[in-house]
């Protein structure tokens, strides 16, 4: 339901709802989210995609190709894992060069958002 917020004599119409620990707010033709719980923080920007030495699932989906094996040395920008979600393929690349320490998935694995897929050791300088 549409609600009214008064701010310095402005009348602001908005719709909002808490859904699973996230506040959703629609105001001024835009939708904002605000996350409060620990669950929601897992999906926050910075925690997904490429975090430090880990390749992390940026979305839920299925692994269609694993392009590295443990012990293999990868270069910066090299494709490491291919995954499929919503019928599209996404290639996950590494931003870090070095030996692959751990491969935690196989072809066909169903993964959730934020799952660690591959761990890479930083090359000694």
């Amino acid at each position: 339901m549409r609600q009214i917020f008064s701010y310095k004599s402005q009348k602001i119409s908005y719709v909002s709802e808490w859904i699973q620990g996230t506040l959703w707010l629609h105001v001024g033709g835009k939708t904002f989210t605000f996350e409060s719980s620990q669950v929601a923080k897992k999906s926050r920007k910075g925690h997904i995609g490429l975090a430090h030495n880990k390749i992390i699932a940026p979305m839920p989906g299925k692994i269609t190709k694993v392009l590295v094996v443990e012990g293999q040395v990868v270069e910066k920008g090299q494709a490491v894992v291919v995954m499929e979600a919503m019928k599209m393929e996404y290639t996950l690349k590494t931003e870090l060069a070095g030996p692959v320490e751990k491969v935690k998935i196989i072809v066909g694995s169903q993964v959730s958002l934020g799952d660690i897929l591959v761990q890479i050791n930083q090359e000694p300088k």
Partner: protein, 495 residues
């Protein structure tokens, strides 16, 4: 003439709802053939009967011919509508439906093979003297051979799924270095999406417009065209914004392309709805492909012509739809469609899944909302990210853009991120407003993820105020307990 009493829908989401609406109006009972996870959907709640035909994975449910046939027979259906995607362009499915004694809502298997299969279609079009894009459409699928062919035609080259549409399994090769990886990826995507890994190569036209003609063959095989749509706004060859008519066709081009589209489909005795796709560059048009089904963007044609393509499809298949000899179609006004995808535009469009907490459409004159999910439904990663379509009609193109702008701003979807902010940027971009966009519009102007939206002072104050109020736990728990059921709990149970 056959009377259809009960029609089964081999599809999901908003198109299933679209077909249900048509059936309701025609007095036909409906059956939904669905996967187990799609019990959480608007179509499931609207149909007279629902039959679970398999698990979420498309290969075991929506792409499984036998499961669809058995499900339809078990429900006592006398016809099947395939919607778009999935089995809609699979002639083996048409044959299986007919063998089981049911009516397939679409063309005959013969017509589908003749123009729906890209190899056959190009060969046939060539004989009719229609202009084609240079390419390789043969059966040799070895990656090394395809690489050589690509080099011979010179890059850039497009790789496309032979059996597909909707951009799946389609990749752009710009140089030899990454070509091998991309061809293999295209073959895998084609296998996953259509059950057939065959791919084609095609010379890439780099400043073309995507123009397609809606054609329709009545029960006697008389084909007319319902004018064109322009769908140049595409990302990874997936359409995002479509409109009717095109802002850039001259009357002469419109006449020539419309004639070509009718000639091609009429020559194979086509009955029902088809779309003949062209690329237009420097006033030259080239045949791209024919889609032998209802198209996602069919509503914009319906809006400017005042027709109902789904009802016409059903009536044609039952032998009850014949154009009157004096029937002339005049387009009126302008219509635009935006596809709403469940994805995060601020993070490069990665899919967004989860529980839909709220969905509210700003209804009004000339506004049409096609959607398959409601609050409480879960958007999963198993299927296409398109969760809804917004269609507007207004007297002129500029007014339609203004209306779409307002409608996008006032549409509320909570629970999953959507591309609505991205759609707003697109339709307000000067090149779109001018109507001069090409199929490279998105890569040219929207290569980077959108910048995060900023709150103004008042909005920030409101956000601060609301975030102080603790989340109510009751609104959180219900879905995960109640919605996801173990596979096959509902299998073969009609509800």
């Amino acid at each position: 003439m056959k009377k259809i009493k009960r029609l089964a829908i081999s599809n999901r989401g908003e198109v299933a709802v679209r077909i249900i609406h048509a059936c309701h109006e025609l007095g036909i009972e409906t059956v939904l053939l669905h996967s187990d996870v799609d019990k959480n959907s608007r179509a499931f709640r609207m149909v007279d009967k629902a039959i679970c035909i398999g698990p979420a994975s498309t290969i075991d449910s929506y792409l499984n011919i036998e499961a669809n046939i058995q499900g339809a027979l078990a429900a006592g259906a006398d016809a099947i509508h395939p919607g778009f995607g999935f089995l809609s362009e699979n002639y083996k499915f048409v044959e299986a439906v007919e063998k089981a004694g049911m009516i397939f809502i679409g063309p005959s298997a013969k017509a589908m093979k003749a123009v729906g299969d890209k190899v056959n279609c190009k060969a046939h079009a060539e004989r009719l003297g229609l202009p084609l894009i240079p390419g390789y459409q043969g059966h040799n699928q070895s990656v090394d051979f395809l690489l050589e062919e690509a080099e011979r035609m010179t890059f850039p080259i497009l790789v496309k799924a032979a059996a597909g549409g909707g951009g799946r399994g389609m990749k752009l090769l710009t140089s030899r270095s990454d070509a091998k990886e991309l061809i293999e990826s295209a073959q895998r995507e084609a296998q996953a999406a259509f059950g057939n890994p065959t791919v084609f190569l095609e010379k890439y036209l780099d400043r073309a417009k995507h123009i397609e003609f809606q054609v329709f063959g009545d029960s006697t095989g008389n084909v007319k065209h319902f004018f064109e749509r322009e769908c140049s706004v595409q990302r990874r060859h997936q359409k995002i914004v479509e409109e009717a008519l095109s802002p850039s066709l001259t009357d002469e081009l419109r006449r020539k392309m419309g004639e070509a589209a009718c000639l091609l489909t009429q020559s194979v005795g086509y009955q029902g709805a088809a779309t003949v796709e062209f690329l237009l560059q420097d006033n030259q048009f080239y045949l791209l492909e024919v889609n032998t089904r209802l198209q996602v963007e069919h509503p914009v044609t319906e809006m400017v012509l005042g027709v109902d393509l789904v009802k016409a499809q059903i009536l044609t298949a039952s032998g009850n739809f014949v154009f009157s000899p004096h029937q002339v179609f005049y387009p009126h006004g302008h219509s635009i469609e935006c596809r709403v995808y469940a994805e995060d535009p601020f993070q490069g469009g990665i899919p967004s899944t989860g529980l839909l907490g709220k969905i509210e459409w700003p209804e009004g004159p000339g506004r049409r909302f096609e959607y398959g999910f409601e609050a409480g439904d879960v958007i999963t990663s198993y299927y296409d990210p398109m969760i809804a379509k917004i269609i507007v009609w207004d007297e002129t193109r500029l007014r339609a853009i203004e209306k779409m702008s307002r409608v996008l701003k006032d549409s509320i979807i909570f629970g999953v991120k959507t591309n609505i902010p991205y759609l707003l940027e697109i339709i307000n971009h000067p090149e779109f407003v001018k109507g001069t966009m090409t199929t490279r519009f998105i890569e040219k102007f929207f290569a980077e993820p959108l910048k995060e939206l900023k709150t103004n002072e008042a909005e920030q104050a409101l956000l601060n105020e609301l975030s102080k109020i603790k989340s109510k736990p009751t609104s959180v728990v219900f879905s995960e307990l109640g919605m996801i059921e173990s596979p096959f709990v509902g299998a073969w149970r009609t509800e």
